[in-house]
């Protein structure tokens, strides 16, 4: 799995912390190293790769799914709906209900 982009300033804001430049550098590196190590979880675990969630009247699903899955959201829903790695499917009125 590719390493994530970690925005340390955003995280420290959410955590109500304020780091020095040195701390920010140190914690960023540690977070990345841990993220690399914790990728082992993805190797062993059968997570829900589609991770479908609902945003207002739209279903949103990730397109990047592990290879062992039979098919991807992209295959099901088509390339044209992929935006920045996420597939957005507007719901009909019936589906919303």
């Amino acid at each position: 799995m590719p390493l994530p982009y970690i925005n340390i300033e955003e995280i420290e804001g959410s955590a109500k912390l304020s780091l020095s430049r040195e701390e920010r550098q140190e914690f960023s590196e540690e977070l990345l190293r841990f993220a690399e190590f914790a990728n082992i979880l993805g190797e062993f675990c059968d997570s829900d790769p589609l991770e479908i969630r609902r945003e207002d009247n739209t279903l949103v699903a990730r397109e990047d799914i592990p290879a062992e899955r039979h098919c991807s959201a992209r295959e099901i829903l088509g390339d044209e709906r992929v935006v920045n790695g996420y597939i957005r499917v507007p719901l009909t009125v019936e589906e919303e209900q």
Partner: protein, 475 residues
């Protein structure tokens, strides 16, 4: 004070061959002698302890009903609340926090006549495995003061090992009681999640942690566990499903013990040898040792750090300078109060875990790590569930090494965290895990083994551990 069993001391107290006052005074003398080096205690309440000891003696003298552990001095990890007593969690954040109530576990011990000597040192908020992240300085191992006592309950373990108290309470989230017990040559148990009330335990990772007894023998541990365990209306997860604990004999013939050989490679050769020798001892006692498979220790470690850090980030959000503890001065707005109080109140390890936890709960981290960690937790639970269809317990090391020198502690965070792999299994699966010393390394430091059992099978673990302890005591 020489390490002596609770049962033995209780018998002496009842026969009036020893007074609670003398016993408490002996502990206080040990505290005065050891503390300048060992640093096991954050605060000691010696005068109050002596007053209570005198009251115990009066009860015994007048033939009044007495508790199971009447007159026995004990210590409590400083993340467990006692009314009117400072409770710091080893943190500047709670440096002046005085608890307004008493934890159920402590209340149970006090109602059986135990005497509280004080509160023990710990890694800040339980985050660490060497009791060196405390803002009150590191705790040293009484068996070799150049070495760590383990953590995060290192103060409790060191206090018992140095004779500063007869037993102590610690807490265990990912090995925080088992590791210090193993490093200091004691018996420790992380009970099944739900055996002991967590009411009054300042939360670090609510879904994993339990309050644990640290003692010098298996029978003492069983006695204290029995007093601690039970339902509590203040903690709905404390379900009181344990049967009465009486260790009648050390007969473990026919028991089946699982041995996950594939994960032993993570331990140093002398730890592996200790485990294999223990397996042979179990066989010689009539148990059957069966090879079993477990998910890797790295998987357990990763899942443990993701889940515990996520819960820590959430639990520690309450420490913001408003209601509890340290509050920054000279700030002009509320956001500044929150941030500056937390920046100055928390140490580096706590900040590290909060940042990791916050990331794991962010949109990106939740899907990449948190949900997968929960899946890994379920896989580990399932793996043990399958093993326990065939086995009564599982034998594992507590740590890859015995107690190490402070100067030999790795500078690499992942190397430090990976040492928790063997302990993370029981924490993630909510299983009981008992540790006892079964060997020593080349430096004479104790090596602990741990026995994991089915949920609420503490009785089986104590019986097996007692059988092992009996063999260890023989020449």
């Amino acid at each position: 004070m020489k390490q002596t069993d609770i049962l033995e001391l209780s018998a002496l107290l009842r026969k009036k061959e020893l007074s609670a006052y003398e016993l408490t005074l002996a502990c206080i003398e040990s505290i005065e002698k050891s503390e300048p080096v060992v640093n096991a205690f954050i605060s000691a309440s010696c005068e109050r302890a002596l007053e209570r000891a005198a009251a115990c003696d009066r009860k015994i003298k007048h033939g009044e009903p007495i508790g199971l552990i009447e007159g026995i001095p004990f210590a409590v990890k400083d993340n467990i609340c006692v009314e009117g007593v400072r409770t710091t969690c080893g943190s500047k954040m709670l440096d002046d926090f005085v608890s307004p109530y008493t934890a159920t576990a402590v209340k149970n011990l006090l109602s059986e006549g135990a005497i509280l000597l004080g509160k023990t040192n710990m890694d800040e908020f339980g985050m660490g495995s060497a009791t060196d992240t405390s803002c009150f300085g590191a705790t040293k191992n009484p068996l070799d003061t150049e070495r760590t006592a383990g953590g995060s309950s290192g103060g409790s373990a060191a206090a018992v090992a140095s004779g500063e108290c007869v037993f102590a309470l610690g807490s265990d989230t990912g090995g925080s009681a088992r590791l210090p017990a193993a490093f200091c040559g004691l018996v420790g148990i992380k009970p099944t999640y739900g055996s002991v009330s967590r009411y009054g335990l300042i939360a670090f990772s609510s879904s994993l942690e339990q309050i644990c007894p640290l003692t010098s023998s298996v029978k003492d541990s069983a006695l204290i566990f029995q007093i601690l365990a039970g339902k509590d209306t203040h903690d709905k997860t404390a379900v009181g499903l344990n049967s009465e604990l009486v260790i009648e004999n050390a007969d473990i013939r026919g028991m089946k013990i699982g041995l996950p050989l594939s994960v032993l490679g993570q331990a140093l050769p002398e730890v592996r040898d200790c485990i294999l020798k223990t397996a042979s001892t179990l066989e010689s006692l009539g148990a059957q040792v069966i090879e079993v498979e477990l998910p890797s220790t790295d998987m357990a470690t990763a899942a443990y750090y993701v889940i515990s850090s996520a819960e820590a980030a959430s639990n520690l959000a309450r420490f913001d300078g408003v209601r509890y503890g340290y509050a920054a001065s000279s700030v002009t707005d509320i956001d500044g109060l929150f941030t500056v109080s937390r920046v100055h109140g928390f140490g580096q390890e706590v900040k590290r875990r909060i940042l990791l936890g916050t990331y794991c709960l962010s949109f990106e981290g939740r899907s990449s790590y948190y949900k997968q960690a929960l899946n890994a937790k379920r896989q580990i639970e399932q793996a043990f569930s399958n093993i326990f269809k065939e086995c009564d317990s599982v034998l594992l090391p507590v740590a890859p090494t015995a107690a190490y020198r402070f100067e030999d502690k790795s500078s690499q965070l992942l190397d430090i965290w990976r040492q928790d792999g063997f302990c993370a299994y029981a924490s993630l699966a909510g299983l009981p895990a008992l540790t006892l010393p079964m060997g020593a390394d080349g430096n004479g430091m104790p090596i602990g083994i741990q026995l994991l059992g089915k949920p609420f099978s503490e009785k089986t673990l104590y019986k097996t551990a007692y059988a092992l302890e009996e063999t260890r005591c023989k020449p």
